[in-house]
């Protein structure tokens, strides 16, 4: 009786590719050559998309931009495991997975250029609007996952995104606990890029990882090398299988690194050292996967050049379309507040309309 162990827990970390792109063959996911290459393509497309946004921002043609550089493996590894019927509840740093899901680049650009119309995603793309209050969207994912369960869905799941900083907010806790209790069809997908603006992860929490928190909610959790797209692929597959099978939620932590400033409004040189960035540059998810593909003879310079050209052309076309779009009318400020405009918005709309004339 006296001292008993009431709970024991282990938290695992998965890695497949080392930083030079050498794989642990035993763990290699069963993917076709084309699928392997596709993971790489998605990442390169994300990076070009992201780089262009940073350029536009410097030129005053974009609003505040939060770069995903360094996190492409997380987002590509997840994206290819998603089904059309799945739902996303993105934070503000999910551009990669969003454009991989069929949201046109120009719409994501539009959001960050300051245009709500970017949020009107194409019909059939199950993606909530970008959520900026950190961690808050995890509850939407918990609720959506419960809704899918109540609807008797057998495949669809909801994916809630958040960062390491978000893991300190109360909503993170409430979302995981709620999903645990109701066995929501929810994957909690945490990109721990080790910084929350200027706060390093070790000051964010005294815990060694975010993944280990899963045990406090009665759900499985796992950490994965978030700069290793094959590991992310394998881990998300495992996690999604668990959720799709109706076993309740899953917490997946991708350990990655934010290569850029927090956003273009930030200056990371104030709080972190170049050394650290250099260290992580050597662990770049794209370089690593390219090395792997090349070593497997699945990739070469020619393919690289063609891919670069293809995504560059896409990006340019999207920017052109973006910039061709005239501003929304000022009356849009009041026109989406309610299904029907109450009298005071009718009055306020008249002012906006008058000023526009």
């Amino acid at each position: 009786m006296p001292v008993t162990i009431i709970h024991e827990a282990k938290t695992e970390r998965l890695e497949i590719l080392d930083r030079s792109g050498k794989a642990d063959e035993a763990l290699l996911p069963k993917l076709s050559s084309e699928e392997m290459a596709n993971l790489y393509r998605l990442m390169v497309r994300m990076r070009r998309f992201d780089e262009k946004a940073l350029t536009l921002q410097r030129q005053g043609r974009m609003g505040t931009w939060g770069s995903i550089r360094g996190q492409e493996a997380c987002q590509a590894g997840l994206a290819v495991n998603l089904l059309k019927e799945d739902w996303l509840a993105p934070s503000f740093r999910e551009h990669g997975v969003m454009i991989s899901r069929g949201i046109p680049m120009r719409q994501v650009y539009a959001i960050w250029r300051g245009d709500e119309r970017g949020h009107l995603f194409p019909e059939g793309v199950n993606c909530l609007p970008v959520s900026i209050p950190v961690a808050s969207q995890l509850l939407h994912a918990a609720g959506l996952g419960l809704g899918l369960k109540l609807r008797g869905e057998k495949s669809a799941v909801a994916v809630g995104f958040a960062g390491d900083g978000a893991s300190s907010e109360g909503d993170f806790h409430e979302a995981l606990n709620f999903a645990g209790v109701f066995k929501s069809r929810t994957l909690f997908f945490i990109q721990n890029n080790q910084w929350a603006i200027s706060l390093p992860f070790k000051k964010q929490t005294a815990a060694e990882s975010i993944a280990q928190r899963a045990h406090g909610y009665g759900m499985p959790g796992m950490q994965v090398d978030g700069n290793d797209v094959l590991a992310v692929y394998a881990a998300t597959k495992k996690a999604l299988d668990h959720v799709r099978a109706g076993n309740g939620p899953y917490l997946l932590e991708c350990l990655t690194y934010r290569m850029e400033n927090h956003t273009t409004a930030d200056d990371a040189t104030r709080y972190r050292l170049a050394d650290e960035i250099a260290y992580w540059k050597e662990r770049d998810p794209i370089d690593r996967m390219r090395a792997f593909l090349v070593s497997k003879k699945l990739w070469n310079d020619q393919k690289e050049a063609a891919l670069f050209e293809e995504v560059s052309a896409e990006v340019e076309a999207e920017v052109k379309a973006l910039e061709a779009e005239p501003s929304a009318p000022a009356t849009d400020i009041v026109d989406f507040m309610y299904k029907e405009r109450p009298w005071f918005l009718e009055e306020q709309r008249a002012l906006l309309a008058k000023e526009a004339r």
């Binding site: 995603f121 994912a141 606990n177 507040m337």
Partner: protein, 336 residues
Amino acid sequence: MAAQRDGRTDKSEKLTLAQAVNHGLAQEMERDPNVLVMGEDVGVDGGVFRVTEGLMEKFGPDRVMDTPLAESAIVGAAIGLAVAGFRPVCEIQFTGFVYPALNQLFAHVARYRNRSRGRYPLPMVIRMPYGGGIHPPEHHSESYEALFAHTPGLKVVIPSTPSDAKGLITAAIRDDDPVIFMEPKRIYRAFREDVSSLEYTVPIGEAKIVSEGKDVTIIAYGAMVRVALEAQEALSRQNVLAEVIDLRTINPMDIKTVLGSAEKTGRVVVVHEAPRNAGLGAEIAALIQERAMLSLLAPIQRVCGFDSVFPFPRLEEHYLPTKERVMEAVQKTLDF
């Protein structure tokens, strides 16, 4: 009592306000399988005020969900459920415990339709008992309607009678925008009224003149309507004929009814339990002076809670607006 209405038999019943909300909820859950009820103790226990009594037995635990003790989760998860096509009716156990949910309410619920350019409206209701009068511990008597009224994107409804309560909760559930539904707990069981057994709505955004008069307008809502009516009655014995308006919806406010009455009487007293500073009374006064100043025979008076914390029970009676304070304010408008 049974009557025929549109070919349906109306077995109206004498109900309390709490029961009337319960009937409205049950009827809407019956009618629309997407309506869900969720919150703390709403299921097995039937709600701490029994407003959700019997719903779990009737509709099962998938439609009436006892949630963990977490207000942000209740509202936040309801957003996800609404996107998934449900119409969640959340209960917050007391208005004083809604603060942990304000991030979800202000940052998301109020904004989702707008943010998504109309793609994701959130047809949800957030019910909460509010106001004083039951001598409970701290935080159980709060009246924070002004916070919600100040937040664009929300509608705010406050019934004051059982029959309105049923019609308004029905309208709130059917509304495609989020509705904050505040229930005056002081009169949950204070009186009964004939309430139709049929489905019906009371339109959101329409006030009601509960007593016609010509000398002064008293504007109130929730439990304060009864206080206003007490004052009206006492005043009538002094030959002062007060018109009493029950706002019923705080936002959008029924400006026509309010202005019409103010123009008629020229004197206005607003009554609410919430603190005065930046409360609803200020908005009402500001609107009336802006749009009917020339009709005003006296400054608009506010009879409100004090700008203090709602006191513990032993001083509670001194906090709440009384008939006497309303009468005094009316007298001020007459003496001006």
